[in-house]
């Protein structure tokens, strides 16, 4: 290993970098210090807590699946096809990344709510989406979809379409090319996109509260439970927050883990996962 020599980073830049790290780490540390460790296990295993955690995990898993089912085709079309208003479509799809979630919740309410654009048609079919668990999944999908699309489109653009062209000249139909070449090549990008989508779904608060409300066991996910507990039982709120922090750390570790370099035969060397989605929000 060669020792690093000159790096060209000025001292004051290093000082600011330390400050930046402090801004992120200090609040987390403050929260950890505030945890009542003696009561931690009872607090996070209370019925409302476990109900909220279970609902959060179930809805986040469902919205991640929905993000994959809808996001993979969208990313593929954005990365490979060329059509009119493509740039506009890409911008619109990415909008939830920068939109305040509460605005997303209102938009969803006026789409699927009783008075909404599709609400009456759904009402006729006997479907009431607003303030149901379905609404939670929809809200989470709305905010999390861009994460998957951005990271997958990046991976698709990085891998290029040359392998697909070769596969086609070898006689593979578009469906075969997609299944046997495109998907395996972008699998790392898809995986990190899915993990990020899951994390975003897990943390979703504003759109859920606006569009789905806060009914225990139905729409009250862990972030909503934390917000509610903060009023009555701050210790419980802190304990549950720590649970979310732990999940978030696990997710980030999964999404940004270094590819297995050097180990021959993994096939990863040529398809290093794109540092997916990290450039947004």
């Amino acid at each position: 290993m060669i020792r690093q020599g000159y790096t060209g980073v000025p001292g004051w830049v290093r000082a600011l970098a330390v400050l930046a790290a402090v801004v992120v780490v200090l609040p987390l540390l403050a929260m950890v210090l505030r945890v009542d460790w003696g009561q931690f296990i009872p607090l996070v295993t209370s019925v409302p807590s476990l109900t909220a955690l279970g609902l959060s995990l179930r809805t986040s898993a469902a919205s991640t699946v929905l993000c994959i089912v809808l996001g993979v085709p969208l990313a593929l079309v954005l990365a490979r096809d060329t059509f009119r208003l493509q740039g506009l479509l890409r911008s619109l799809v990415l909008l939830p990344l920068v939109l305040p979630p509460v605005v997303g919740g209102i938009a969803l309410l006026y789409t699927f709510g009783r008075q909404g654009l599709l609400g009456q048609a759904l009402d006729v079919l006997g479907l009431h989406i607003a303030f149901s668990t379905t609404a939670v999944v929809l809200a989470q999908t709305f905010v999390a979809l861009p994460f998957l699309v951005v990271s997958l489109e990046g991976a698709l653009r990085t891998s290029g379409s040359r392998y697909e062209a070769v596969a086609a000249t070898l006689g593979a139909r578009p469906g075969t090319v997609f299944r046997r070449v495109t998907l395996p090549l972008v699998l790392p990008g898809l995986a990190s996109g899915a993990v990020l989508s899951f994390a975003r779904s897990l943390g979703e608060f504003g759109a859920t509260l606006t569009f789905a409300g806060s009914l225990q066991g139905v729409t009250r996910t862990l972030p909503l439970e934390i917000y509610l507990q903060r009023e009555t039982d701050p210790d419980a709120a802190v304990a549950l927050s720590l649970v979310l922090v732990a999940v978030a750390i696990a997710v980030v570790a999964l999404a940004y883990r270094r590819p297995a370099v050097g180990r021959a035969g993994t096939g990863q060397r040529t398809t290093a996962p794109a540092p997916a989605g990290g450039n947004v929000t």
Binding site: A165, V166, T169, L170, A264, G265, R269
Partner: protein, 373 residues
């Protein structure tokens, strides 16, 4: 088993018509940006021309223009493309890469694997079957890529500079391999290397600016080049102009005298006149009027270099300025613009040659081939 192809791509100034006979291997050569890759992409179906039509074995590949829109997608064409880089699927072992074509054609897993092993053996790479592409050297990967292309059982094989990315040790081995597998196979090979054209191709087509400027049997094109590009490939000096008796008069008024000789006696020393053998027109020689365009061609080894004008009949003497000196085998190649002379290092030292020096290139008329283009 004939390929007929005619296509135009307006955006690239590309307009080419090409026919490849059954079992024939055609080399496509030309400067960078001449349209070689566009040609292959058009045949393979990776690029949609604005107009034109193509058919392989009587089956339409495309028929475009005038409201017609017949178009066969790449996977229905039976045309395999081997590029400069092997482009092996990185997530599949070598044997699965080769089995990809048969699998796509609906062959069972077991049968596809058996075929893959057969083709790997054909390119002497069966010992690499279990390896991932990342574990293969450039030459090994390209051999596996050849097996993969052949395993797809293509009616036509397209090779886009398949040796260009290989190191000097792997290239000769691959060239021998191509010589073997291309024998009797219908193929088009794009190459920059005249050796590939000589060894692998029956016929050479020279592209420039999206047009075919010259074509013919490889040997004939190299012996009697009709374009400066072909002359450069053959390593010959090439002066286009108007036929003037036994010589050629250039647009600048220079006259080069050639020597009459029966054609075909000495490569590079052919003299002939008469009607054009190809329909191709030379941009360089496309001068106005009804006069016959022709070229004077002579090898650099026939050129002597003098510091003073030593003009003696029947010799041609050109006053030139040296642009470059470079080693060429055991000789020194003296370049002066588009002309070149090969002299011994001793002669070069005696004359004190250096770039920028004004000298005279002298060549005997007997060494100059003059023919119509």
């Amino acid at each position: 088993m004939t390929l007929s192809f005619q296509a135009a791509v307006a955006g690239r100034g590309f307009d080419v018509a090409l026919t490849v006979q059954p079992g024939e291997t055609v080399a496509v050569m030309g400067p960078n940006g001449a349209g070689k890759s566009t040609l292959l992409a058009g045949i393979a179906g990776l690029l949609r021309p604005d107009s034109g039509m193509a058919a392989l074995n009587g089956r339409t590949l495309f028929d475009l223009g005038d409201g017609k829109g017949a178009w066969a997608p790449p996977h229905q064409r039976g045309i395999a493309l081997l590029a400069q880089e092997p482009l092996l699927f990185p997530h599949l072992a070598a044997v699965d890469n080769v089995a990809f074509g048969p699998r796509s054609a609906g062959v069972s897993k077991r049968e596809a694997k058996a075929q893959a092993l057969h083709w790997l053996a054909e390119v002497e790479a069966e010992h690499l079957a279990g390896r991932r592409p990342a574990e293969l050297s450039g030459g090994q990967a390209q051999r596996v890529a050849v097996a993969r292309a052949l395993a797809a059982d293509p009616a036509l094989l397209l090779l886009d500079e398949p040796l260009a990315a290989l190191d000097i040790h792997s290239a000769p081995l691959l060239r021998r391999l191509f010589k073997r597998v291309l024998a009797g196979r219908q193929a088009i090979i794009v190459t920059h290397d005249v050796l590939d054209a000589l060894m692998l191709a029956d016929r050479v087509v020279i592209l420039d600016n999206g047009r075919i400027i010259e074509e013919g049997p490889t040997r004939a094109v190299l012996e009697r080049p009709r374009s400066s590009f072909a002359a450069g490939l053959a390593g010959l000096n090439f002066i286009p102009g108007i036929l003037d008796g036994a010589g050629v008069r250039t647009r600048e008024g220079l006259r080069i005298t050639g020597h009459e000789e029966e054609p075909g006696l000495h490569p590079g020393l052919l003299v002939a006149s008469g009607p054009s053998r190809t329909a191709a027109t030379l941009p360089e020689a496309a001068t106005a009027g009804s006069e016959d365009t022709g070229v004077a061609v002579f090898p650099p080894s026939a050129v002597s270099v003098f510091v003073n004008d030593a003009h003696g009949s029947p010799r041609n003497s050109f006053a030139v300025t040296i642009t470059d000196l470079e080693p060429h085998g055991d000789q020194v190649r003296v370049r002066a613009g588009s002309l070149a002379a090969d002299i011994t290092p001793a002669a070069s030292a005696d004359l004190g040659l250096a770039p920028g020096m004004a000298v005279h290139f002298v060549v005997k008329a007997a060494a100059v081939a003059v023919y119509a283009t």
